[in-house]
């Protein structure tokens, strides 16, 4: 895990420094050459890249992500302190919504296989997967917020502010989960043990919820890591569109300002988060599938 993280840090660091421009380029405005020189010295940007890299690694070990260059005296750590809770609640809402609705949609589609509802659900799923979330976000803002005035257009505050960005963020994962659930469910419903359950005289609802759903949803859990990543990256764009003061907004601003410390800091933070999530998903899968527990016991 640490090696993965180190690789990400290294690659991001050198890629970032290979991009032309520096934090002190300002479109149109001519900054004073000595001021820039002083600033470069202050942030250590006048040293060779290799030295800067080692310095960065050193501060990273102490969990210090350094000061922001563009927003002096703000530090990257305090940006994360402020932005992450916002991003986390947005991401969690989107994820939970995507999981619940995706599984429900996929199950219903499988039960009405090749019926009208199934066709609608799968058309929706294809749209959800192919249409980028910023398009969804724009549409939601245009209709729900601007024309029908049902919900606020942007920014953050009450639960009403959360609905549109969470919806926009969840469409992709929701569609992916729905498709996967449907495919698994169709497959599971043809299994012999479903017939055994019928032969016991169990009601269809019991069969679906108790015998089929669990086995159909298991593979969705393995996908969870990828879906979390999807929501994370999606949140960069969505937060920018809805002007939400989350991590994503800081990250995008950081890129625009070539604020090296912010770019590095948020990348490192999200990478670490994602790696931990993937690890947790693995553990969760072992907990809900009894067959895997055995392998671990035996090993």
């Amino acid at each position: 895990m640490l090696i993965t993280l180190w690789l990400i840090v290294t690659i991001t660091f050198f890629l970032m420094h290979s991009v032309p421009g520096s934090p002190f380029d300002r479109d149109g405005k001519e900054a004073n050459a000595t001021v820039i020189q002083n600033m470069m010295e202050h942030y250590g940007l006048d040293k060779p890249v290799a030295v800067q890299y080692l310095m960065y690694l050193k501060s990273l070990v102490t969990l210090d992500l350094g000061p922001s260059i563009a927003h002096y005296p703000d530090s990257v750590n305090s940006m994360i302190d402020r932005g992450f809770p916002v991003s986390l609640s947005l991401g969690m809402i989107a994820l939970v919504f995507a999981i619940i609705c995706g599984i429900a949609l996929g199950t219903v589609a499988a039960l009405r296989q090749n019926g009208l509802l199934d066709s609608f659900a799968m058309i929706f799923a294809v749209i959800g997967i192919t249409v980028p979330n910023f398009v969804v976000a724009t549409m939601l803002i245009k209709y729900v917020a601007v024309e029908w005035k049902l919900l606020p257009v942007a920014t953050w505050g009450t639960w009403k502010h959360m609905i549109l960005p969470a919806l926009a963020l969840s469409t992709g994962p929701l569609a992916i989960i729905a498709r996967l659930t449907r495919a698994n469910m169709v497959e599971v419903l043809t299994q012999d043990y479903i017939e055994t359950a019928r032969a016991k005289g169990l009601a269809p609802a019991t069969i679906v919820f108790k015998h089929a759903l669990r086995n159909a949803v298991l593979p969705v859990v393995t996908l969870l890591g990828a879906l979390i990543a999807n929501i994370l990256t999606g949140s960069f764009v969505i937060e920018k569109i809805f002007a939400i003061p989350g991590m994503g907004k800081y990250f995008v601003d950081g890129i625009n300002n070539r604020d090296y410390a912010v770019i590095m800091g948020t990348t490192v933070f999200y990478s670490a988060l994602l790696i931990i999530m993937m690890f947790l998903v693995d553990i969760a899968y072992g907990l809900i599938d009894p067959r895997i527990k055995l392998h671990k016991k035996g090993a």
Binding site: Q191, D192, Y193, E195, T196, A197, R198, A199, K200, G201, L202, A203, T206, K210, H211, R214, N215, L218, I288, D289, P290, R291, L294
Partner: protein
Amino acid sequence: MNQPKNDTKAGQPLLEVKDLHVTFTTFGGEVKAVRGVDLTLRAGETLAIVGESGCGKSVTARSLMRLLPERTARITSGSIKLKGRELTGLSEKQLRQLRGSEISMIFQDAMTALNPTITIGEQIIEGILRHQKVSRTEARRQAVEMLELVGISHPQTRLKQYLHEFSGGMRQRIMIAIALVCKPSVLIADEPTTALDVTIQAQILELFQMLQERTGVSIIIITHDLGVVAKIADRVNVMYAGRVVESGPVGEVFHRPQHPYTLGLLASMPRLDSDRTIPLRPIPGTPPDLFAPPPGCAFAARCSRAMAVCGTYPPERTEPSPGHTVTCWLQDPRAQAVRPESQPVGTAGRPAI
């Protein structure tokens, strides 16, 4: 063990199927999988259904419980009576009441027929709770008792385990436990021993016999193995292309087979008690297309003794000896007259063709 059952056998049939027709609607057309099956099961007896792959054994069995795929399968005509009650017109809800409590079914491969992610105990207990008004504790007690009965040791701890923690033979025992826990009067076993090795097979058959003695359950066993039939069945139905061609007590059918198809089946099976070194003879040819079954006897095209009439008119059912029925034109008195020699039709392993 056949003796004590004989008195119950005299009673009226427990399950009586008459002229059952089942059709599947597929993209290619209508598959007439079962075309007029008659079947009688008496209390406490074991009836075997044998026949080549695809002859409609499983479809017949499933239609007794109405476990056929709802969208494609249809019982087009016929009657199924359990204890005098007609089942063909029952609603899905009434059928659910019946499944597992009156008629149970076990399948060929317990590995796939049990749910891998639910504990064995729960899979037994849910059936009990479905059909009996008892507490969970009582249901668990019954489950333990049932597991013990089918020969699973340490049932208390076994209840909490999952399918993959059991051997093949034990899985089949668990399936039997699940099927019998609500004390059904009919148990349908669709090739219950095909997936098992020979020793385990013998153990499972003995288990069937033991359970039948204890609970008095009537068993319909579907198999390809005539050895299994000889070992545990009282009567046997030989099926061909969706029909029963010969039916009767096992000893009678095996020793005095009347239908050329039964003869062929017997000749194609290895026999342990045979001292003659007769090569096994598979029946040449393939079963007819069930999309468009022939108008006459379906076996006519493969039958070495077919007459002109066989291909065009369906034969009537005859009863050469009490309880032994055959559906073949050779039984017709006019055919008997045509026959060159008047020797018995043949013995197992050496049909007189």
